[in-house]
Amino acid sequence: MDRVKMATVWLGGCSGCHMSFLDMDEWLVDLAQRIDLVYSPLVDVKEYPEDVDVCLVEGAVANDENLHLVRRIRARTRLVISFGDCAVTGNVTAMRNPLGVALEVLKTSYLDKSNLHPAIPSEPEILPVLLDQVRPVHAVIPVDYYLQGCPPPADRIRAVLEPLVNGVWPELPLAERRFG
């Protein structure tokens, strides 16, 4: 049987969703039988490949690099899954939004609240540029599936991936649709 070309990415988030992914423990071994992990923070591939079957997107779209990547993901992926609350709602990553635009956020963080060497970091081409507002993934590209939780519990991730890799559309029970 063909193996599923799967990717995971980590945008503006804490990587907790990936930690939860790893919490699937021994089922990961089963999963590994069914997929090729073609791009992920867990593997060393620099360029998001073409023709990916499914991508788990952790984190919100917070900077220009996120924006670029997520658009590329959409163009090269058949099923995009918003993976965890930051991707689905913006969540903690978006807590900066009420502060205002990017410059206001940087001022607050690096000038107003700084006691030592207040300065706004600026390393063009090295540091990605913050977007004025953090946005959930579906506000930027169409999303095919939403996986809630901060982080989504390992069992919930499995409940989505297991049918998917077997060619079945996952139907999570309502109780597994809980945010937070």
């Binding site: 063909d2 023709d51 499914v54 058949r78 095919d144 077997n166 060619g167 559309w169």
Partner: protein
């Protein structure tokens, strides 16, 4: 006082009038164009010309053609002058002695005046609104006296029902039926409220009536009170209308002094007191339950109906709420009879309607027309069409109404026809839009209005109008796609069907009507949408054969 005495008073008043009367409009519009100075100059000119014994200068209410203010009209020959400057006063007075005037002559035979049918506005611009004697001279308070002497409350209700009068505030509920519902309530305490919270931007009929003929409204309230068994009334008037408030206060004082309001009116057992409540700037207070809350000194948040105010209104007592224009129709219906009134208009919409004509139209001002007249006749013939280009749409009903396209201008004006077009009769604002008006901008303008005026109580209106406004802003900015329009339409459906009160329920109307008639203007602003992919769940099974 008996009818004969009242008529005698009226005759005496008439007899004291001088044979030549120069009427000068002192409603808010003309006042802002300095009509007070014009009036003073005319008075001085009359004195200077030595005509004071047979000419009088009279401050009157609205003479309707607001765009030509200040307006002056001379009786008995009826010559009318517009944009009168105080410097022209002497020459206008001079015409009475055969002189010429350079003042701008207004053709009173043009359709704007000729095609009007005056019931509500019959005294507007003819009498001094600050003198009850002027109102008496044209038969004022005779209907009230007649009702108290000759009719039972039931007969009054029945007359109103037969007249076919429907609420002029916008919804068009049959007035007599409403009165009957309240008359039947056993409660001892009932109230009459005159809704003068004319909140629709672009509507100024009620302001004009209150500034021009306040007693007519008070008389209507008193007749209503008698019919339903109320002894206390309130006029809830917009705080933005200081002149209307001022003239109402004068009218109330005079009416009390004359004994036509107060206790034992016309020596009958009927008591009726009216107080003024001044609004403080909240569109939602035009909604009757919000208005009641406001009179009770609370936040003007609507509450769900039922119970309707007819059962439980002000301080939980049965309460009649009628708008200014509705009440202004009452006395003439009593005087001239239900059949007379019902003979004007269409099968389902009787009588006349006052419209405030404004926007991109030559003649702006007030028109009172029989129901059933076409929109085209109002805006093109009476309004004189659009000065800058062709008419694109006519907006009626304010933020609760819709934009009627030029193609539908031959529609007769009645409650049902306007509703069928996706607008509403509304209170009477009629704003003409020409080719330069962008309809999506108009929808956004009204949505911003509704968003700002939402009381915030129910979620769909409070949060839904914000989202609709954002979507419209995105469309106007050229950032939106067809999916955004679809979402806008879904929100319209939600807000219309789930909002608590009329404000929310009607907030989508300007969007829906512009989408219905001007969708191509929306489409022209949209980003091209990428071709829709197949539905997500059809993109599995994932492992497709890859060679």
């Amino acid at each position: 006082m008996e009818l004969a005495e009242l008529k005698e008073l009226a005759d005496k008043e008439k007899a004291e009038q001088k044979p030549i009367r120069i009427r000068c409009c002192t409603a808010a519009g003309c006042l802002s164009s300095n009509s007070q100075a014009v009036q003073q100059a005319l008075t001085d000119a009359v004195t200077t010309a030595g005509l004071a014994d047979r000419v009088e200068v009279l401050p009157v209410g609205c003479m309707r053609l607001c765009c030509e203010g200040p307006l002056v009209q001379v009786d008995p020959d009826g010559a009318m002058y517009g944009k009168v400057d105080p410097g022209q006063a002497a020459s206008i007075v001079g015409t009475l002695q055969g002189g010429q005037t350079e003042a701008r002559v207004i053709d009173t035979n043009m359709p704007f005046f000729r095609d009007q049918v005056s019931i509500v506005l019959e005294n507007s611009g003819r009498i001094n609104p600050e003198r009850i004697e002027d109102y008496l001279s044209v038969g004022g308070y005779q209907a009230l006296l007649h009702v108290l002497r000759e009719m039972t409350p039931n007969q009054v209700v029945e007359t109103m029902t037969r007249s076919g009068l429907r609420g002029r505030g916008g919804a068009g509920y049959p007035t007599g039926v409403k009165w009957g519902l309240i008359a039947k309530q056993p409660a001892t305490q009932k109230f009459v409220i005159c809704n003068a919270d004319e909140g629709d931007p672009g509507a100024f009929m009620d302001r004009s009536v209150l500034e021009s003929d306040p007693h007519r409204v008070l008389e209507g309230m008193a007749i209503a009170a008698y019919a339903i068994g109320a002894s206390q009334g309130f006029v809830y008037v917009r705080g933005e209308y200081p002149l209307a408030i001022h003239r109402l206060e004068i009218a109330l004082r005079q009416a009390r002094k004359m004994g036509v309001l107060g206790t034992q009116i016309f020596e009958s057992p009927f008591n009726f007191r009216i107080d003024i409540r001044i609004g403080a700037g909240a569109f939602v207070c035009g909604e009757e339950t919000a208005l009641i809350g406001s009179i009770e000194g609370k936040r003007g948040t609507p509450r769900p109906r039922p119970p309707y105010p007819t059962e439980s209104g002000l301080w939980q007592a049965p309460t009649l709420i009628n708008n200014v224009e509705t009440l202004a129709n009452v006395a003439p219906i009593i005087t001239r009879g239900a059949e007379w009134y019902a003979s004007i208009g269409t099968a389902k919409s009787k009588g006349t309607k006052v419209f405030a004509l404004a926007g991109k139209v030559r003649n702006t001002g007030l028109v009172e027309v029989p129901m059933g007249i076409t929109l085209r006749k109002i805006v093109e013939e009476m309004g004189g069409g659009s000065p800058g280009g062709s008419i694109k749409a006519v907006q009626t009903g304010g933020p609760s109404g819709g934009c009627i396209p030029a193609s539908a201008l031959d529609t007769p004006v009645d409650y049902e026809s306007l509703t069928a077009l996706g607008s509403i009769m509304g209170s009477g604002g009629m704003i003409v839009m020409d080719d330069a008006t962008k309809m999506v901008d108009v929808a956004k303008f009204f949505m911003e209005f509704c968003m700002d005026e939402s009381c915030g109580k129910c979620v769909p209106c409070r949060a839904g109008t914000v989202q609709m406004y954002r979507l419209l802003a995105r469309i106007v900015e050229g950032e939106a796609t067809a999916a955004d329009v679809a979402q806008l339409e879904a929100l319209c459906d939600l807000v219309r069907n789930t909002s608590l009160c009329g404000l929310g329920q009607s907030a989508p109307n300007p969007v829906l009507s512009t989408l219905r008639y001007f969708r191509e203007e929306y489409n022209a602003l949209l980003q091209p949408a990428p071709p829709a992919p197949p539905p997500s769940n059809q993109r599995i099974p994932l492992p497709v054969a890859r060679g």
